[in-house]
Each structure stands twice: as C-alpha cells, then as structure tokens.
C-alpha cells in the first residue's frame, strides 16, 4: 500500500502527521493555560482543588502528546531531532524541566508528607503553564525565522552562539508566537473550566478572564500572522537542494496552497467564533470551537512552514545547512514501515474520544470530589 508512494509523498505524509500531533499538542495545552489560572480564578481552597482536579484528569494527554510528538519527529525527521535538540540545548532543557516538575505536582500536591508543601507544587504547575507554551511557541517561531546552526558533511551540528537556542527570544517575531500560544492556552484553559466544572462562580470569573486573555492573544497572533505574510522566507531548489531567500515566501505559499489557506481561515474563524459566542451568549461549547480551530490553524501554519519547497528549519548561521522535509527525513523504508503504524492513529483517537466522553459525561463538582477515592 505505502510501498507504491514516492519518497516525497511519504515525506509529506509524515510532515502532515507530525504537524497534526503538534497541532493537537497546542490544543491540549489548555492544561498548561489552566495551570496559570489557579491563583486568579480560585477564591477558596475548595475552588482551587476543583480547578486542579479538573486539569489533573487530563494532564497525561498533553504530556503523552508531547512525548509522541518528539518520538514521531525523531522517527520521521531525525536530522531535525539531532540538530534542534542537540543545538538548542538550553531551550529544550528549560521546556523539559518545566514538564518534569509538572508530572509530579498533581499527584503530590495534596498528599500528606509531600516534603515541599502544596504551595510549591502549585507554583511548579504555574511555571509549567507559563514556560511550556511560551517556550514551545517561541521555539516553533524559529521554523519561520531560522536558528543559529551549521552541519558538517557527517551531519553533526555546531551551534553559532553560546546561548544554545535562548537567543530565539531576541527575535520579536518568535516571541510573539510564544506569547500568542501562551495566551491561547489560557483561553483554552478558561473555556475548559467553563465546560467541565459545575460551579457558577468559577464560570463567571472564567468568562471575565476570557476577555482579558483574548485581547493579548489576538494582538500577538495577528502581529505574528501579518508579519509572516510580509517577511522573507527560506526556499529550496528541489533539483539541487540549494537554499535561497525568497521575499514574501509565506504569502506565496498561501497562494500556492489554497486548500491549506482555507483550512487556516476556517481555523481562525473557529477560534474567534468560540471566543466571541462564549463572551456574548455564554454556554459551555466554546472549547470545542476554539479547540478545533486551534488544531486547524496550527496544522495549517506548520504545513505552510514546510511545503511548497520551503525549509522548515532554516539556518541563519549557515544557510545551506537549513533543513527541509527532503534532506532531514528518514529513509524510504523507515517511512513506509512507520506509515503502516500510522494506520493505528484513528483507532487510538477513537478510544481516546470514547474514554474522554465516558469520563466527562458529568461535570466535576465539589460534591463529586468528596466521594472520590483519588483526589489531587
């Protein structure tokens, strides 16, 4: 089945899968966004416990998606994995540490004799919620603005600055994407609270916060998108592999890939509709519009970064070291083998959906927590 596909088709297929995982990760970062809101939404300890437990039942999805995103990138585009992780050392470790402290915090927070105290674990969650989306968003910004690496003829990476990736924050366009992802995750977190918690006070406070977080999200997101349309991009010649700077490259990509552009527009409309309808009409379904819109928008942006002969991880230190889906991918054999594994993805999504529905068919409440054996 997959054997008959050309190498470039397989490479594109795997970029679509990795991008979809990245898009789902951004949606699932409603957990991170929610973690930054405990102190501003909750007024009492019981309310805080309610918020923590609401997210505590979902944090593993985000975590697993991050790990699978990393694994899938390693399998399909190992040169990106070795170049970015080996090169942007400090950025990735900052992201990873924030997830390490998150992983224990839900479980340990309320347990007696937890050594550090509940407050410390709540701060750990806040730090994860702040640094995770901000740094991941900023790191993804380098897909459009480039990073400081070079590769030798054995594909070994050398980084151009001693800051090992942290210099990405000095490019405002990267930072704007990071901030947009951070505020989007907070918007998603608020909508998830409104959807899943049986508590009027929390609902009302979340609605107010929704407005406060939508404004900065829109400012940074629109800046990012508009600047993207006018900036130079990194094109490659498929015949020679040579990388060149092309003015308005991403605008050209939008024009050249109308289906993707349509998906981007639908995604943005979905995000806006979810937010606006919740602000104006109330309700609890906003998370699905904003969540679905987020997946489509991020997916489209990541396709924009790599398709139509575009370098998805350009080097501004040594242009010809830039990575493309053609020069960074696994071999044909591995992509074919992995493609068979990808057939399981709909089945995995199916049981996740089923389990999610089974667990979320009733809203979480303080009364339920009082009956619960396992409480965070």
């Amino acid at each position: 089945m997959f054997e008959s596909l050309s190498l470039i088709t397989l490479q594109q297929y795997w970029w679509l899968i990795v991008s979809l995982l990245g898009a789902l990760l951004v949606f699932l970062m409603f957990v991170q966004g929610g973690e930054t809101l405990f102190f501003s939404i909750a007024r009492t300890e019981d309310e805080k416990t309610l918020l923590v437990n609401t997210l505590g039942r979902k944090w593993e999805f985000t975590f697993t998606t991050l790990v699978t995103f990393g694994g899938a990138f390693f399998a399909s585009f190992p040169l990106f994995y070795s170049t970015s992780f080996g090169g942007a050392y400090w950025v990735w470790f900052a992201i990873l540490v924030s997830f390490v402290i998150q992983a224990v915090s839900f479980e340990f927070r309320k347990k007696p004799a937890n050594l550090l105290g509940a407050k410390t674990y709540e701060i750990f969650l806040f730090l994860n919620g702040l640094l995770g989306p901000l740094l991941i968003g900023t790191a993804v910004g380098t897909f459009f603005n480039g990073a400081m690496f070079s590769l030798d003829d054995m594909n070994r990476v050398t980084w151009g600055t001693p800051f090992r990736g942290l210099e990405a924050v000095l490019t405002f366009h990267n930072l704007a994407l990071g901030l947009a992802v951070l505020f989007l995750s907070r918007v998603l977190g608020l909508l998830y609270f409104m959807n899943s918690i049986e508590n009027t006070a929390i609902y009302e406070r979340s609605k107010i916060q929704l407005l406060y977080n939508t404004v900065p999200f829109l400012v940074f997101f629109l800046y990012f998108v508009i600047a993207l349309l006018f900036k130079d991009g990194f094109a490659y010649q498929p015949e020679t592999g040579a990388i060149t700077i092309e003015p308005y490259k991403y605008l050209h990509n939008l024009v050249a890939m109308p289906v993707n552009t349509f998906m981007l527009l639908i995604g943005v409309v979905g995000v806006l509709w979810g937010i606006v309808s919740t602000l104006l009409k109330g309700g609890t379904k906003g998370i699905w519009f904003v969540g679905g819109g987020t997946v489509l928008t991020v997916w489209a942006l990541l396709i924009l970064a790599a398709f139509n002969h575009t370098s998805f991880y350009p080097s501004v230190f040594d242009l010809q070291s830039s990575l493309t889906i053609e020069n960074a991918s696994s071999s044909r054999f591995t992509l074919v083998a992995m493609s068979y594994v990808s057939l399981f993805v709909p089945f995995v999504l199916g049981y996740i959906w089923y389990a999610w529905k089974a667990m979320n068919n009733k809203k979480i409440s303080t009364e339920e927590l009082e009956q619960e054996h396992h409480v965070y």
Partner: protein, 525 residues
C-alpha cells in the same frame, strides 16, 4: 572524524545519562509489575464481588499513582536526551532507533495515559467491567511501552536489519521485523519485564509484612501476599530462564561484555564459572587498570562453557583473547579490527571529499565499494573500531560488571526462595508467627531495587566503550557542547530528582501508615 574530542564532555554526558536512566529505573519496574498485580486483584474483586478485594486494589492503586507520576517525570528527560546530549548518535541511528520510540508513543503511551484516568477516576463513572478493562489496558500499555524502548536498546547491543548509507552517513533500516524480533531484543524485553514483576511482588509482600508486624489490616495483608507471592514466584522462575537465554545472546554477540561480567581474563575450553569471587587490587596488566585478577574465587568447572554455548567443552574467549586475538579459535585481534575500522572511515572520508569536489565517477565507485557485501562484512562491521586508539580501552570496567552481575544473580536466587517461603507461610495461615521472615521481607524491598539497578549496570557498563556495538563508540556519539553546560544540567537533574525521590518516599511511607481505607473517603487525607 572526532577532532578536538573533549573527554570531560563525554564523561559528563555519560554521567548525566546514567543519572537519569538510573533514577527512571527506580520507578519503572514497580509501575510495570504493580500494574499487573493491581489488575489481578481487581479481577478477583469483579469475579468474587468481595468488597475487600476492591479495598485492596484501591490501596495498591494509590501506591501505583504516586510511583507512576515520578516515573513519567524522569522518563521524558531520557527520551529527549538522545537528542540533546547524543545528537551525533541520534542522526547516525535515527532511521532505526526513532521508529520504536514513535511506536511506543502512538501504541503504548496513549493506551496507558487514556485508561489510567479511568482506572483512578472511573470507579463511579463507568461499569465494573469497563473499569477492569481500563486497569488491564493501563498495565498492558505500561509493559508495551517497555517493549519498544527495549527493542531500541536491544538493537544498540546487537545491530541488525540495517545497512550503512554513505550518502547520508547513517545506518538505515532494511528489515523492521529483524529489528523487532532480534533475539537480543526479545530476551532483553522478557528478562526486564519479568524482573520488574519480581520487584513489584517483593514490594507488595514487604509492605504487607509491615502491616502484619504492626498487627493491623491482617486480612488485607494476607490476601495481598498470596497474590504477590504466586505472581512473584512464577515471575522469578521466568526471570531465571530469560536471564539464561539473555546471557547466551551476550556470549554470542558481545563476548567482551560476557567475559567482563564473568571475570574471565583468559579463555579456555571447558571454562569454569566463578560463582563467587573477590577481584584483586593488584593489576595483571600494567597497561590497563581494568584488568585485575582474583584474590579469592569459588569456581565451578565447565559450567560457563555449558551456559554460554550448551557444550561442556566449548571454548569461551576471555578478555585477553579478545584483545590479543586467538588464531586457534578464529578470534581477530583488536589491533586488526582497529585497522579495518580506520580503513572504513578513510573510505567514507574519501567518498565525502569526492562528492564535495564534484568528482562523480570517483564518488560513485567509492559508494559501490562501501556498499558491497564484502566491504560491509569485512570492514564496515568494524567501523567503530576506527575511532579507538588504544585496544585496552575496549575493555569495560571488569570489577563493576563482575560485581553487578553477581549481585543480580545471587539476589535473584534468594528471591525465588523468598517467594516460596512467603507462599508457604501464608497458605498455612501462620505467617504472623514468622516475625523474622516478616522483618526480612521489609528489608528485601531495597535488595530488589539493588538487583534491578545492578542488572542495568551489567547491560550498559558492560557494553562500553560502545554506544552501538562495534559501530559507534560512546565518545563519537556525543553532542558538541561545552562540558560545563552538561555539568550544569547534570547537577540540576541530580537536585530535582533527588528532591522528588525523597518526597516520593515520604509520601509513600505516610500512605502506608494510613493504610487501606474504607470506601468513600478521598485518598489524600
């Protein structure tokens, strides 16, 4: 090829990986084994309808949850460290190594993380049978995730199903099934998971013994011991069997590792097994501090030959044979392997230079030569030796390998006896009278962890200097970064993981003191 190699960088990178792997492995075996034990207990609850089994299941589930969280925390670092600290390795083997890692995420991690939520929070939300299914799927998901990472590790110990592509300067997969069903990978998975079941069973028995010693929750403790002792006994027998077949794979594919952990310096026909030994501090070979002889040893004749090759008189090569070569038995010397490896590297360099200079014909001819079966077999299979300058660096730390292996084996034998006694005493209904055994059961918990860690020391220290057997030495795999940066992250993780470990132990001990609760109340109070 590895100009300007910084040994401090290599050592700190190794230390960091060892630190994170060893911390991770404190938590993983308990998750793997306890998941199954919990599923068995819940099955008994669903089958019998006895609420005591539900209470027992929920208590061990609380232990599972505490342990699982920190296992996840330490695990994420390991996955990404392949890229951050071993980027040359990541590229060299990413075409093969990445696939199991991705499959692990898609097929195993999602199963685990989806159903664990139902396992913990679904008691009042889904049917009994659905809940039981979720518990089993969580346990299966955890063990499946072990499968894929151990397949990857098995491939590093015995690379199969691949070919070297000079164009991309990396190994490329040619057979997924060869990688998945490599005997080394299969043995490694079976031995690692069964030994994890042993550890978890010991944990359950040890904690239950504490309750009996305190004279509380006796029914809970006895029922827990029965399940854990049967499960642990079966797992320990299987661990011995898989350990035996695993050792035979090592003898065949990693003879230096085998010689190191058996403390065999000079090979012989009908080689004896050093059952117990004390390695001398005096050196038998002044050029290599690793080569030390025994001050004291108890040796059983011919056993090693039989264990390694199922033949009482078979020749088992020793460390000296593998370094100096042994013509009689067709063993190539390390010097010869090094010269062949250097030639393979030179050919690759020449190919790259020809490509760069645009000399197409010359590049094509070199590529054909490199890819030819003869070159692959006789030269490229020694590629990693080309990075080695001193043959004696091909010997791993013998004392560390030898002692770790023997600690693991001796404790493994003790565990079988331990499970038998636990089962016997419990079934006779007299376990509360054997206070010495109950106290020993508590102290067996750290011994199980010691054996488990020792097993990984044998596997990973024993294969040094290789990160991929014969193809890539550890020093060539490392990311080019300052040693200082790695030092910073090493100490950062040492502090974070140690703090979290202390927190975990304190929380677990408090939960044990609280004990199993009656139905209804939240578990954190």
């Amino acid at each position: 090829m590895i100009e300007g190699l910084d040994l401090a960088l290599v050592n700190w990178s190794r230390a960091q990986f060892a630190l994170t792997a060893m911390y991770h492995w404190i938590f993983v075996p308990l998750t793997l084994g306890l998941g199954i034990i919990i599923a068995i207990m819940e099955t008994l609850y669903v089958k019998t309808g006895n609420p005591e089994w539900k209470r027992i299941t929920k208590f061990w589930m609380t232990m599972f949850g505490i342990n699982f969280a920190i296992g996840v925390a330490t695990g994420i670092i390991l996955e990404f460290e392949f890229g951050t600290n071993w980027s040359n390795y990541s590229w060299f083997v990413g075409d093969i190594f990445g696939a199991p890692l991705a499959i692990e995420g898609i097929l195993a991690f999602f199963m685990e993380s989806t159903f664990i939520a139902i396992m913990f929070f679904g008691w009042n939300k889904v049917s009994k049978k659905f809940h039981l299914t979720a518990t089993w799927l969580t346990a299966i998901g955890a063990n499946l995730s072990a499968l894929w990472i151990l397949v990857a590790n098995g491939w590093m110990q015995k690379p199969v199903g691949m070919v070297f592509n000079p164009e991309t300067a990396r190994m490329e997969m040619t057979s997924f099934w060869d990688v998945l069903f490599s005997p080394m990978a299969v043995h490694k998975f079976l031995h690692t998971t069964s030994s994890s079941f042993v550890l978890a069973a010991i944990f359950v028995i040890g904690v239950s013994a504490w309750f009996i010693l305190k004279g509380r929750d006796i029914v809970f403790a006895r029922k827990s011991i029965v399940v854990a002792a049967i499960f642990g006994f079966l797992a320990s027998i299987y661990t011995v069997a898989t350990g035996d077949s695993s050792a035979r794979s090592v003898a065949h594919d990693q003879p230096m590792k085998f010689a190191a952990f058996e403390g065999l310096y000079n090979g012989s026909e009908g080689a004896g097994l050093v059952a117990l030994g004390l390695i001398s501090s005096s050196e038998t070979d002044p050029s290599n501090e690793n080569l030390k002889d025994f001050t004291l040893k108890i040796e059983i004749p011919n056993i090693l030959s039989y264990m390694a090759f199922m033949d009482w008189d078979a020749f088992v090569p020793g460390i000296n044979d593998l370094i100096r070569g042994n013509e009689k038995y067709g063993i190539m010397s390390a010097t010869e392997k090094i010269s062949r490896g250097k030639l393979a590297i030179e050919k690759l360099k020449a190919f790259k230079e020809a490509k760069k200079a645009g000399m197409v014909a010359q590049a094509d001819s070199l590529k054909t030569e490199i890819m030819s079966p003869d070159f692959q077999k006789n030269y490229f299979s020694y590629f990693g030796y080309g990075y080695i300058s001193d043959p004696h660096t091909l010997v791993p730390s013998v004392p560390l390998s030898f002692y770790s292996f023997h600690i693991m084996v001796v404790l493994g034998m003790y565990f079988i006896l331990f499970f038998l006694m636990a089962l016997l005493y419990t079934l006779k209904g007299k376990i509360h009278k054997h206070r010495l055994f109950l106290k020993a059961a508590i102290w067996t918990i750290p011994l199980a962890y010691l054996a488990s860690q020792a097993g990984w020391v044998v596997a990973e220290v024993g294969r040094q200097p290789w990160v991929i057997q014969d193809l890539m030495p550890t020093m060539a795999a490392v990311t080019k970064i300052s040693a200082g940066a790695v030092q910073v992250t090493f100490w950062l993780f040492a502090i974070i993981f140690t703090t979290l470990l202390i927190a975990e132990i304190k929380i677990m001990m408090r939960q044990i003191k609280i004990g199993p609760k009656s139905e209804g109340g939240p578990s954190h109070v």
